[in-house]
Symmetry: C2
Subunit: 419 residues, 2 copies
Amino acid sequence: MINASIITIGDELLIGQVIDTNSAFIAQQMNLAGFSVIRRVAVGDDYNNIRTALDEEKKYADIILITGGLGPTADDITKPLLCEYFGGKMVVDEDTYANVRHLFENIFKIPFTERNRMQAEVPDICTVIQNKKGTAPGMLFTEKVGEREKIFISMPGVPFEMMAMMTDDIIPYLKQKFTSTHIVHRTLLTAGVGESMLADMISDFENNLPKNIKLAYLPSYGMVRLRLTATGENTIAVEESIDEQFAQLKKLTAEHLVTDVDETMEKTVGKLLIQRGKTMSTAESCTGGYIAHLLTAMAGSSAFYNGSIVSYSNEVKEKILGVKKQTLDTVGAVSEEVVKEMATGALKNINTDYTIAVSGIMGPDGGTTDKPVGTVWVCVGSNEKLITHKFTFRFDRERNIRLTALNALNMLRKLILAN
Amino acid sequence: MINASIITIGDELLIGQVIDTNSAFIAQQMNLAGFSVIRRVAVGDDYNNIRTALDEEKKYADIILITGGLGPTADDITKPLLCEYFGGKMVVDEDTYANVRHLFENIFKIPFTERNRMQAEVPDICTVIQNKKGTAPGMLFTEKVGEREKIFISMPGVPFEMMAMMTDDIIPYLKQKFTSTHIVHRTLLTAGVGESMLADMISDFENNLPKNIKLAYLPSYGMVRLRLTATGENTIAVEESIDEQFAQLKKLTAEHLVTDVDETMEKTVGKLLIQRGKTMSTAESCTGGYIAHLLTAMAGSSAFYNGSIVSYSNEVKEKILGVKKQTLDTVGAVSEEVVKEMATGALKNINTDYTIAVSGIMGPDGGTTDKPVGTVWVCVGSNEKLITHKFTFRFDRERNIRLTALNALNMLRKLILAN
């Protein structure tokens, strides 16, 4: 089994100003390729701390993937540090120079400065990995530690540059270099059941799993993802064994099962609609366009999604969705009647087969004794049928918005399946 | 200077199935309180790797903050491991038991099982930190390493449970326990200028910064955040010195300055509108509700934001926004004419002072020779004036959506300021 470790570099990671999405992507790609990521470390733009991280991680891993700290500005110290760490000297790499110059003059259309020239310098003891999406090149170093050859690969920190390099160059290189253990994941998504209840439902199954298969619970926003991971040398045996266990797990969780592939709730709903040639719309008050965003963030969503009325003000509810003023005045915007009228208005005005309408109080302000923060009415419907449900969430604004969106999508999923 | 390290535990972090937002939050809170986070480490639910992380991190830090691995399911091994690591034995904690039982019976309204009882067990050698938002208690351990007392605090991995514990209990405790170095950050946001250009503009400034002040560049989605960080023992001296430098930095970047506080573009726009008592709406095609979501994710946005028409289909553009069929047929949905008609329709139908309308091709499909993927038309306007701009982004769908939203908000910001 080949172990890998990820080092991310940048002060911004240690003061919490940005969230580290790079590590997640790198880990994902490595796992799919059959490598095991055993540690992830983040350190600041600090000479000693970066050196310590290199010293430490090579004790635990054969592959050390490094990202960040390669940009053109003074707080990026990684490149010269790596050069020194592996005992090289800086030289201009011709291919990198041509790439940087081309990007500046033809793509960015901004002047090429001396500072940018430095971006074409690399340590003379590394193998350069060209950056197709930006200026900072990737660099591959090797070092003998005891009997083992350790591989260090440094990538830029800009996510889409790192991603292209990882997918197009680094993964193919590592796969070719190492005969890796076969790792297979199978994931299913449940909704409407808590982690402990689920654990009780499948405890016999879990206790009887073969040694090479692990089960993990990944709870998020009212849903729980269950993941089986199998490892082994024999591809066919690993696949057969995990398929058998996964079939059993699906049976045990059938009542709460949303999907048996590793995909999101919105993807599941989208696929159902496309299979049936149906369309949907949304009428969103409290989620403020978040359901629309979840759906349209997926490529190809225009095949089933026509649009949303984000009716954040009552005026929009009345004028565009046709909610009656009288309804708003008597029962208020957060009510069963209003979400039904919103749904009816959306079906008519956006002209779709299905719709979702939501209205609620997301917090931190706006709650009352009758309708505390977290009170949400959801209506899902078609021209034949409207189904409503009242939720009471107990969380912060962000979480309430996400929970509302995912529970509403799950209600729609059930309605589509029932038809 | 008191150093801290963060250990996050969970296989899901190492296969990349979830993004680690907990570390960012913890780091943020620690920095605000004057502690320096020097390392962040993620390890899987693996006995040896967790022990190794504890052994390692106590070499570098005085405070070790641990999150994850405390849930009720079999893949959570942290609690018994910590018990053994610090040499204690598991006992039921009365307060925790009462809390867990109360949550199950009165809040979750689901049966209390034997598995949940285990959640009330804690090592007898820790100080328990009650979890006000969930079942898994926090635990504080101390260990003498050489001359120094090291503090280990274990928190649940569920973000909102961890956040409440961090803010309400752990930060106040640590502040009281340690006299910490004063750390001050000042951050400004620029838009419309690249990182290298900016670096050239302020290189003299950067080279002349006092030793206790650091400058960092944080580029994201067409904007660059610049952060000054000052450290020192004397609160007043640190504040004075950073204020002086920050004033200079603002002058140097004035042309591209969006805001001089650490806030988002959407927050800046929202504040401007509230100050002036104005309202806005959006008409979104290619961003699919993302601009609406950015705005409504902020508490209090109903004070200036009335709603959005997410016109993902041409039918919605015509029927609800009043875009002319002839315009769509002759110049196509991604055109200056269409975003102008969308903006006019939004201003009229949603009845606001300002509006943003966007239409573009986000990819990966849908591009043509004339209008490749990344082509976006934006119109911002009021009843007096419409301003349009064509952008050509070169990225993936997610990035194109974000770039469109942030550039459109920046255009609106400039229009509001010009009025």
